[in-house]
Symmetry: C2
Subunit: 298 residues, 2 copies
């Protein structure tokens, strides 16, 4: 079997596990509040690769801990990802109308409902982190809570989005671009890998290796995302293609050209694979995920 087939066989049952758990976690339908639970489900259950939950699970499994033991945290990471998309799509931010080939949450419901659905998804994520304490030693959960909270806030996602918005339409350099990407998407990808590792009891050498892996993976992921925005169709992306260029967003292709951007992604992939050298074949899914991340863009 080639790595693509192996990765597919690895992902399928785990994605089902995550999708079922998300379904359960978001199932409540009380008479009040109206609309909000539906808007939250719409934001989360309408598709998505579940890349962050899979990373969290693959990191835990690389250290011998099964997926079911980290499931609440894996799902929390997906909720945080969904929350960030719902808010980023708002008119005051990226003003996006299409996501996963469907109207964005604010288009389908309202701006107010999108703001609150994002907030409620973020809150729900932390509720799931509290549930993780039934499965893992609470000291580890506290570490993961800190990691994920920092990755979501000023020093992570929110900070990256602020700079992304402030830099729109401006000529920026590589340092600024790296800041935006490492914060806006890189921080949560890193947190996904490290959360799985911490819950699985990684020692500090293992944490360092997976930290290096996740940083390189996050970089490769974002470069390829930028490349796809230029080269793929709206239908392939499920969101408006060429939106970055239209908005004069800072991207790797804008700075380096598409070919050089692809080479940077290739180098980041190698760095990610090198970081995994100390691990045995239980880390193969993490290796395939690095291959997949870059193969998407060619």
């Amino acid at each position: 079997m080639d790595w693509q087939a192996q990765l597919e066989a690895y992902i399928a049952p785990r994605k089902r596990l995550v999708d079922d758990a998300l379904e359960t976690y978001l199932a409540e339908n009380p008479p009040r509040p109206r609309t909000l639970p539906e808007a939250m489900r719409y934001a989360v259950l309408g598709g998505g690769k579940r890349f962050r939950p899979i990373l969290c699970i693959a990191a835990a499994e690389a250290l011998g801990v099964p997926a079911t033991q980290v499931l609440p945290t894996a799902c929390a990471l997906e909720l945080i990802h969904a929350f960030s998309l719902v808010h980023d799509d708002l008119p005051a931010m990226d003003n996006d109308h299409l996501r996963r080939n469907q109207p964005t949450v604010w288009v389908k419901y309202s701006e107010a409902m999108a703001i609150l659905a994002g907030d409620a998804l973020f809150a729900k994520a932390f509720e799931l982190l509290a549930e993780q304490a039934r499965l893992s030693p609470p000291e580890r959960v506290a570490q993961v809570l800190h990691l994920i909270a920092v990755a979501s806030g000023t020093e992570g996602m929110c900070g990256g989005q602020v700079e992304d918005i402030l830099c729109e339409g401006q000529a920026i350099g590589e340092a600024e671009l790296r800041f935006i990407h490492s914060h806006k998407t890189g921080a949560l990808i890193r947190a996904s890998v490290l959360a799985g590792a911490l819950l699985a009891g990684a020692d500090s050498a293992q944490q360092d290796a997976l930290d290096a892996y996740s940083r390189a993976l996050g970089l490769a992921f974002q470069i390829i995302d930028d490349v796809l925005d230029e080269t793929a169709s709206t239908e392939q992306l499920g969101k408006t293609a060429g939106a970055d260029r239209a908005r004069r967003k800072a991207t790797y292709p804008a700075l380096f050209g598409i070919e050089t951007a692809r080479q940077h992604a290739e180098q980041a992939k190698q760095d990610a694979l090198n970081a995994l050298r100390p691990f045995d074949e239980r880390a193969d899914p993490l290796r395939w995920l690095a291959l997949y991340t870059v193969a998407r863009g060619s």
Copy 2:
């Protein structure tokens, strides 16, 4: 000394402790992201009674645990309160221009910055809850995390705000009004009291008593808030007076008239005091806080 003077003497040093800690927690000023840390400080440090942190501290102290032992959680509660105000003030929500006699965050910065500052404050709150694990047994912190996450989301603040917005301009009954208030403000007030109690190791009878206290207190607080919106001036409130009526919001005075609303608040105050009967004089600050909550409105 009358209770007002005793409460003032109780609050002053604890408010200083909270204000100093908030100052420290929000002090970072890295070169990037720009503006966001400043907007967060603007939202939090420009004043405020610190009612929720004081409740958390008073509950802990009622059980013999000093303020410094619950300080990260007390501050987290204030950040969540501030986050909710920043988002509620947005044009898509309540469209408020004035808060604490100053321009609201979105007016001073931008809508995008206000959305992200709110998100980042919410994230920071959970970072502080993780820090609480250095001071308290991590199992208790996990319980508090769950409590506060639920109080912030669909079953709490966000759920209340959704119904508040959906009910604007509509004739509603007491059940709907109670839902809105018990969720929008009541849930976080309850969580503030119970968080302090849980961190202090409250047994289940103590938790139940403080639960009853906090529900009654939250109700009294919200009724008086509604009354003040009708009877106080914009300058006294620090926000636009009569805004509820102008927006045809559901309020207690709108439903019952001002005098009957005041009587309901008085009854809630009695319920709060009765709930505290099992506690000794270390719970006096909680008693004074109930007296204060209702005295504000007369």
